[in-house]
């Protein structure tokens, strides 16, 4: 039984093709202006990696901010439920999922079956979301990936006093003008980011095991800063953390086919 999940986010779109619990194809693309087109494109690519076509898919579930505009899905499910479900498939011991997306951040508590017990989300303020990092990487003239790797070379710790992305950006410019090293600034950016996410994570209550999903989970600087601030080990997933929402959607599709 082959199923699929499609996660159309604000910055990227993800698709996963699943056969029982085995991933046959997974793809991440940048989201375009139209969610319909992004969804089609990412799903076509995932299918072609799996060597399949749309008619082979028994059921498809959509998620993400553009989920109600995906034409080919049988059902749409919230991102929160999908991240929890996807994380649970990859790490059955996971009880807390911290998902940082391009424009939001969620802290989710889940049970052994991957059902959501409690969650907190921030999509009102750019601080503590992927957008914060994007703004800072742009000012530093580096890529998002470099922001993570560069911070490991930090020598003299700096910090950002502002929470607001706009004010923190001014602080970063100030540090650059004062000829502080980009590595030290990158570290301060990741620390500030982690500080904001930690508040959300604490409010939901940290329960082990803890894992991270979403694109920001690939930023090792943020992950280790968050581990220190929460004083907990964040376990790495055995797949790309950015596809977990789409994977969870595919798991919902599978359950639907099984009549669960």
């Amino acid at each position: 039984m082959i199923v699929a999940g499609c996660d159309v986010g604000s910055l990227t779109s993800k698709a996963v093709v699943l056969n029982s619990s085995r991933i046959l194809g997974q793809v991440i693309i940048k989201s375009g202006f139209k969610p319909e087109e992004s969804a089609h494109q990412v799903m076509e690519e995932a299918l072609s990696r799996a060597g399949l076509s749309m008619k082979d898919i028994g059921f498809c579930v959509g998620t993400g901010y553009g989920r109600d505009r995906i034409p080919f899905v049988g059902k749409s499910v919230s991102e929160i439920a999908c991240h929890a479900k996807g994380a649970q498939l990859l790490m059955p011991t996971a009880r807390t999922v911290i998902d940082i997306g391009g424009q939001d951040c969620k802290a989710i508590k889940l049970d052994a079956k991957g059902n959501v017990v409690k969650f907190f989300t921030n999509d009102k303020c750019a601080a503590g979301t992927g957008r914060f990092l994007e703004v800072m990487a742009k000012i530093l003239g580096i890529s998002l990936d470099e922001l993570g790797t560069l911070s490991r070379q930090a020598r003299s710790p700096l910090s950002l006093a502002s929470t607001c992305t706009v004010w923190a950006q001014a602080e970063v410019i100030h540090h650059l003008n004062a000829r502080k090293s980009k590595a030290d600034i990158a570290s301060a950016v990741n620390q500030a980011m982690a500080g904001r996410v930690a508040i959300l994570a604490r409010s939901v209550g940290i329960e082990k095991d803890v894992c991270m999903t979403g694109g920001v989970a690939k930023n090792t600087g943020v992950v280790s800063a968050l581990e220190k601030q929460l004083n907990v080990n964040i376990r790495r997933l055995r797949t790309d953390p950015q596809i977990v929402g789409a994977l969870g959607a595919a798991v919902f599709a599978k359950q639907r086919m099984e009549g669960a």
Partner: protein, 263 residues
């Protein structure tokens, strides 16, 4: 007796010179990175207008976010106290001042003596501060000073759903791409910002008479939007609203010399 007040803000610097209870001269310039130099420059501008030299100033007080970097003053006072004092000196029945600065917003309640009895303050979040409008002006490619005028032509103001400056900027870029009218977008931005500032003011309870100070008070669209968001009348400041902080500082300087604010 000649006294002066100097207000070093994040976006502009202001100086006011007073002589025997009258405003002799005022001057406003854009901010620059060096606060000491900025303070000297704005004060020199005011001195020149007044036709006097620095040694004729008996006492001066600094205020604003750069107040501790002003080399020539005798002391400093908070912006909150200064805006309250300045606004009430111009309009004696004022009991509430809403001041929107370049990087903050304040709501200040005053007693009949111009003393601050309660205030609320936002400098943590750029939304609801002058910076919001500055960033949006950049995104819309219009001058900050034009925004008020343009917004008056609005027919169908947009609704901005994001409060966060970063997210709102993306939102208005989509609105431009959708072909929405510039005046409708700007009017929507004023309403969104007014809503934010109104919540701040309501948190300390509104009290008549209300006036607005700070550079943003010159924006007619913003003034009207704030009046609507508050649901009560706002009296237009009867002098340049941008110099109220510096004026208040000059009044504190006068009080320091005479030991009596009525002097």
């Amino acid at each position: 007796m000649i006294v002066a007040g100097c207000d070093i803000g994040s976006l502009s610097a202001k100086a006011v010179i007073m002589s025997n209870g009258n405003i002799l001269a005022s001057h406003v310039i854009y901010a620059k990175p060096e606060p000491e130099e900025l303070a000297r420059e704005v004060m020199d501008g005011a001195l020149k207008k007044a036709g006097i030299s620095m040694d004729e100033i008996k006492y001066s007080i600094a205020t604003g976010y750069g107040r501790n970097h002003v080399p020539f003053t005798n002391g400093s006072e908070s912006e909150i106290a200064c805006h309250g004092r300045g606004a009430q000196w111009i309009m004696p029945d004022v009991r509430m001042v809403i001041d929107i600065g370049g990087q903050d917003a304040k709501a200040i309640r005053l007693n009949e003596n111009g003393n601050v009895i309660r205030y609320a303050y936002n400098d943590k979040c750029a939304s609801g501060t002058g910076r919001f409008l500055e960033i949006m002006a950049g995104a819309l490619d219009v001058e900050l000073e034009e925004m008020g005028e343009i917004s008056l032509r609005a027919r169908n103001p947009v609704t901005i759903s994001n409060q966060c400056v970063v997210f709102a900027e993306t939102e208005i870029i989509s609105l431009i791409n959708e072909g929405r009218d510039l005046s409708d977008i700007i009017s929507g931005l004023h309403r969104s910002m007014a809503h934010r500032v109104a919540s701040l003011a309501k948190s300390i309870e509104l009290e008549a008479t209300i006036t607005m100070t700070g550079g943003v008070a010159k924006n007619k669209g913003m003034f009207t939007a704030l009046k609507e968001a508050l649901g009560v009348e706002i009296r237009k400041m009867e002098a340049d609203p941008q110099i109220m902080g510096a004026l208040g500082a000059a009044l504190f300087a006068r009080q320091a010399v005479s030991g009596n604010k009525q002097a």
